[in-house]
């Protein structure tokens, strides 16, 4: 009787029915090579399982435990990571480049201050992030801050937008660290895509926010109290 390797594997994984199992066991008795192949499958199964076993005893991340305990608000019936898009407006589809964190090239000057390991908002951007409220935006300012939210590591983060660039910055101690920046490339600048998009944030940036946000964006009361606390939590 020939037994294909796939079947031997299924035997090792406990997937065969009783009849096929006993047929194979019969064959194993007088086929040392077959028995050896089976042992290899069994050993691999045990070895892989054992290799991952000690991960079970590590403590869980706080965010995971919080997610398990969190009571859902009645109004938050949508998937939390997507529901917030209501606030962001319709995403524009743009030809843009997304630069993340430390991969940013040194800029020529303000409003972003290039430091060794992080990109810190300075000047007008820093002021807008610290003082402007998304919920209170009544006029078109050169720098808009349309969304404020709490990220997965528990920091306040804010999306910002100017004519030619948009990004996300998160509060880290006493500074705003730029986490993502979308820059209007010459190609998209020529078409005026970012400008035409008006108040909508670029889709790449919406994806970035999606990846970071916990729950939904801050409402005006939460935003106001966050500002009063100096954006510390």
């Amino acid at each position: 009787m020939t037994i294909a390797d796939d079947e031997l594997m299924a035997y090792a994984d406990g997937e065969l029915d009783a009849q096929r199992r006993s047929e194979i066991e019969l064959a194993l008795r007088d086929d040392a090579h077959l028995a050896q192949r089976l042992r290899a499958h069994q050993a691999m199964r045990a070895r892989v399982r054992a290799a991952f076993d000690d991960e079970l005893t590590e403590p869980m991340a706080p965010g995971v435990l919080q997610a398990l305990e969190a009571r859902q608000h009645p109004e938050a019936s949508n998937d939390p990571s997507w529901g917030w898009r209501r606030w962001g407006g319709i995403a524009a589809s743009l030809a843009i480049g997304l630069l993340i964190g430390r991969t940013l090239p040194p800029p020529s000057g303000a409003p972003i201050d290039w430091q060794t390991n992080e990109v810190v908002a300075g000047g007008a951007l820093e002021r807008a992030l610290s003082t402007q409220l998304a919920s209170a935006a009544t006029e078109i300012t050169p720098l808009r801050v349309p969304i404020s939210f709490v990220d997965r590591s528990g920091r306040y983060c804010r999306a910002f937008q100017a004519d030619r660039q948009a990004g996300v910055a998160c509060r880290s101690e006493d500074r705003w660290v730029v986490q993502a920046l979308v820059v209007d490339t010459p190609a998209s600048a020529a078409s005026g895509a970012l400008r035409q998009a008006g108040s909508a944030l670029p889709s790449m940036l919406l994806d970035e926010i999606d990846a970071r946000i916990v729950g939904v964006p801050l409402n005006s009361a939460q935003e106001t109290s966050a500002r009063e606390s100096g954006w510390r939590r």
């Binding site: 594997m9 691999m44 965010g63 995971v64 997610a67």
Partner: protein
């Protein structure tokens, strides 16, 4: 009143370490894995009514995780941002026991498998799911699952038998 969400919350707690183990195998990155587990827990609780009592909860959450991770990978590849971390092959704390050395080698070998084979290995060999459940988690026919599994095993066998030679000399 005990809602479906409360039942789910209670059942999910003990599963968390296994969810994280699967997430680490999928993402090969500790922070990504924590994020993925958190997202899966949030989504599962929101969709508590979709889980049918009597079906395996672990399979259901694994499927949520698998789908969320595929979405995430698509999103990342849109802006060429992929993180592949060697952390899966590392271990917190220094240990030189043979079992630990072997565990590191095995995890490293698993992390080098392609995404599809790695998911199959994580579900069947690590989590011990039956083929049928694993195939449903991945949304593929059983035949596809077994062929991925067979190829993954061959590759692990090749990697690990090549790697074990210098390792044996060391001990």
């Amino acid at each position: 009143m005990t809602s479906a969400t409360d039942v789910l919350r209670r059942e999910l707690g003990p599963l968390l370490p296994r969810l994280r183990r699967f997430a680490r195998a999928l993402t090969r990155h500790r922070e990504d894995a924590d994020d993925l587990v958190q997202l899966a827990v949030e989504r599962a609780l929101l969709r508590a009514d979709q889980w049918q009592i009597g079906t395996r909860l672990d399979s259901w959450i694994f499927r949520i995780m698998q789908n969320a991770w595929i979405d995430e990978m698509r999103a990342r590849s849109r802006y060429q941002q992929t993180f592949v971390d060697e952390a899966l092959g590392e271990h917190v704390g220094v240990s030189t026991t043979e079992a630990h050395i072997d565990a590191i080698a095995v995890r490293k070998a698993v992390s080098k498998l392609g995404d599809e084979q790695r998911a199959a290995v994580a579900l069947v060999l690590v989590e011990g799911l039956p083929y049928k459940e694993a195939a449903e988690v991945l949304g593929i026919p059983i035949g596809t699952l077994t062929s991925r599994l067979a190829r993954a095993r061959e590759s692990l066998q090749a990697t690990l038998s090549a790697a074990s030679a210098p390792l044996e000399k060391r001990t």
